[in-house]
Amino acid sequence: MAHTTTSEHNHDAHAGHGHHEHGFSHPMPIWMLFAVFFALLFLTGLTVFQAQFDLGNAEIWASLTIATIKAALVILFFMHLLWDKPLNAIVILGSLIFVALFLGFTLMDAEGYRENLIYNSTIEASQPVDPNAPAEGAPAVAAP
């Protein structure tokens, strides 16, 4: 965290970076861009292929795993996080912790009271809707 940017910092200090002719820029080799792109295409194909089989509960985890691999490729290479400052990696990965907290607690709770739910299943069956009716308010019901 203790990263300081200072004015005395000149570009020669970056000589060890490997691309000193570009200062702080880090151009990606073209072959790498294409390699990542084709890997992503392959994984897309894989996930479509995988979806043809009924894996039951495992299905969601399989597709999420593939999606996560794809996402990791995009983040690490296309977004060049691999060469970025560690702080930026901490920032984005840290946010995922908070997403996990949010989803985790909310879903944990929703599961907990699931058995108390009342499903309104037949409401439409008895109340035909006018498809042209504009979308506003609850169905108007008046007192006699």
Binding site: S95, M108, Y113, I123, A135
Partner: protein, 558 residues
């Protein structure tokens, strides 16, 4: 610490050595030079005027509530109007006043100066977040004037889906959405500024604690506010299209809305209180002329509060029928957040120990803060404990509790901060005696207003009631009297500040004896803050700072 020769009253001085000829206020003239300014100080001042006006508006609604509740029935407002008034009081106070108050107004003005930079990292983003705030204000005023918003500031579904005040709900939710982005951009700006723009010598642990607090606040703003954004967006879609995600009639789950809402709105409580704590840390050390006690503990506890603050939102939902496991986990986590807050209070007391306490207006507000915030914090204990919360939930006990924290905490600290930095911001000294009187009236009025509400709540008086049982009437009347006292104290404080602009003495560079960087530049500061790069030292080293009668303020002995 050499204040031997100093008079106890506010500094009296005829000549001011450092009053600058050119400063940010007269740097350029005309309406557009303010409206299109990229200068963080001007943006901060515009925010200050804005949030104070919103506070006045919200405060008027508060007085309307209290006057209505003088009688247990047949108050001067109809039930419907009463509901709209308390909704607007809450919504305006939370979204337009407290959340932007310290970070956007004082933070904007002070952060770059305290840090020793020319400006925040993204000045245009800064200006645009101010205009987002203005847009939010306009939307709220629309909600207020077109129809009346009557959902409570929490917009709980399905009431907010069903209420007849649909236009108001849409305007207000969109306003909240816009204000959310204003808040996010401010936070983002501050994080980047602190991370990348610290000048040489300004290490993390040389930062004033106010900046630590702002940094912690900004983390919450960036992480939590987007969830509010999507929540109100989904609520608008619910109203416009009937998407049903929160609507039980369409098998949506209204309790989910509460999870979404509080995932933001609980951390938002820390958006409100953390910067206030930062102000108090500054005020305590400057006005005790002594380094802050336990600097690192205070800094770490700010970050700890920011992070723990994300784990406890469920305590707003203890009675909603959450699953038992979730309830108990949230209760346990809720208590974790009390520890860092307690540490801060003890550290502030430690700062006073063996200090040299100047009892001036900002300091009195700071002391009032400690008193009120301690009550607010301690009364959180029976609300965090599950079995007692079953009794107190949604009663006046909760109302009193969060007013002690939000108003006794944030507002009082905000006022202390405004008084403290007023000379820096405007270049004028205010009348300290009148300021002290205002602090005392505010303190008395505040306690008179909200102490009776603890008793009301524990005796079972539910909140958001337009009429109530006759047996509660005496306590309600006491509270109403208190609120009028409180209101007049606040009015006096405003008058003191405004009077200083008219006939206040010109302020010295360092009227209180602070050691942080903002006191090193002139009052008011020049356009780009520092004419030469400031030397960064320990922000709480007062050993070289002495009072100089000739300049009417403190100077650094070299």
């Amino acid at each position: 610490m050499s204040v031997v020769d100093r008079p106890i009253t506010a500094p009296v001085h005829s000549e001011v050595d450092s009053y600058p000829e050119h400063h940010f206020l007269n740097h350029s003239k005309g309406f557009l030079s303010w409206a299109l300014t990229l200068d963080h100080k001007r943006i901060g001042l515009m925010y200050l005027v804005g949030v104070m006006s919103s506070f006045a508006l919200g405060g008027m609604f508060a007085l309307m509530i209290r006057i209505h509740l003088w009688n247990f029935k047949d108050g001067w407002l109809s039930n419907q109007t009463y509901n709209q008034v308390f909704t607007l009081h809450g919504a305006i106070m939370v979204f337009l006043f407290i959340i932007p108050s310290v970070p956007a107004a004082l933070g904007n003005f002070l952060l770059p100066v305290m840090l020793g930079t020319k400006d925040v990292a993204f000045p245009r983003l800064n200006l645009s977040s101010f205009y987002l705030w203005v847009t939010g204000l306009v939307l709220f005023l629309t909600a207020l004037s077109v129809t009346g918003l009557d959902t409570g500031w929490t917009f709980y579904t399905p009431y907010s889906i069903e209420t007849q005040q649909g236009g108001a709900v849409l305007a207000a939710t969109f306003g909240v959405f816009v204000l959310g982005f204003s808040s996010i951009f401010t936070g983002l700006n501050f994080i980047v500024t602190i991370n990348t723009m610290r000048p040489p010598g300004m290490t993390w642990f040389r930062m004033p604690l106010f900046l630590w607090a702002i940094y912690a606040t900004s983390i919450i703003q960036v992480l939590a506010t987007p969830v509010l954004g999507i929540t109100v967006l989904l609520l608008s879609a619910e109203r416009l299209l009937g998407i049903g995600i929160f609507d039980p009639k369409l098998n949506g789950d209204p309790v989910t809305f509460q999870h979404f809402f509080w995932f933001y709105s609980h951390p938002a409580v820390y958006i409100m209180i953390l910067p206030a704590m930062g102000i108090i840390s500054e005020l305590m050390s400057v006005h005790c002329h002594k380094g802050i006690f336990g600097y690192r503990m205070i800094a770490y506890s700010s970050i700890a509060i920011a992070l723990f603050g994300f784990l406890v939102w469920g305590h707003h939902m203890f009675t909603s029928g959450m699953a038992d496991v979730t309830t108990i986990v949230f209760s346990a986590l809720t208590f974790t957040v009390s520890i860092p807050s307690a540490i801060k209070v003890f550290n502030w007391l430690g700062t006073m120990y063996q200090g040299t306490v100047s009892l001036n207006t900002p300091m009195l507000y700071a002391l009032a803060f400690i008193f009120l915030f301690t009550i607010g914090g301690l009364t959180g204990l029976p609300l965090g404990a599950l079995s007692t919360d079953m009794h107190f939930h949604d009663t006046y006990f909760v109302v009193a509790h969060f007013h002690y924290v939000m108003m006794g905490g944030t507002l009082v600290a905000f006022l202390g901060g405004v008084f403290h930095w007023w000379p820096k911001m405007t270049g004028r000294m205010f009348n300290d005696k009148l300021g002290i009187i205002s602090a005392i009236i505010v303190f008395v009025g505040f306690n008179l207003t909200f102490l009776p509400q603890f008793v009301l709540g524990s005796r079972g008086m539910p909140r958001r009631y337009a009429t109530y049982l006759p047996e509660f009437q005496p306590l309600h009347q006491l509270s109403t009297i208190g609120s009028i006292t409180l209101g007049s104290g606040l009015l006096l404080a405003l008058i003191v500040l405004l009077m200083s602009l008219v006939n206040g003495k010109k302020a010295p560079r360092n009227p209180w004896g602070g050691a942080t960087l903002e006191w090193m530049c002139s009052s008011p500061p020049p356009h780009d803050n520092f004419s030469s790069a400031p030397t960064v030292g320990d922000p709480y080293d007062f050993s070289n700072i002495e009072y100089d009668g000739r300049v009417g303020g403190y100077v650094k002995r070299t």
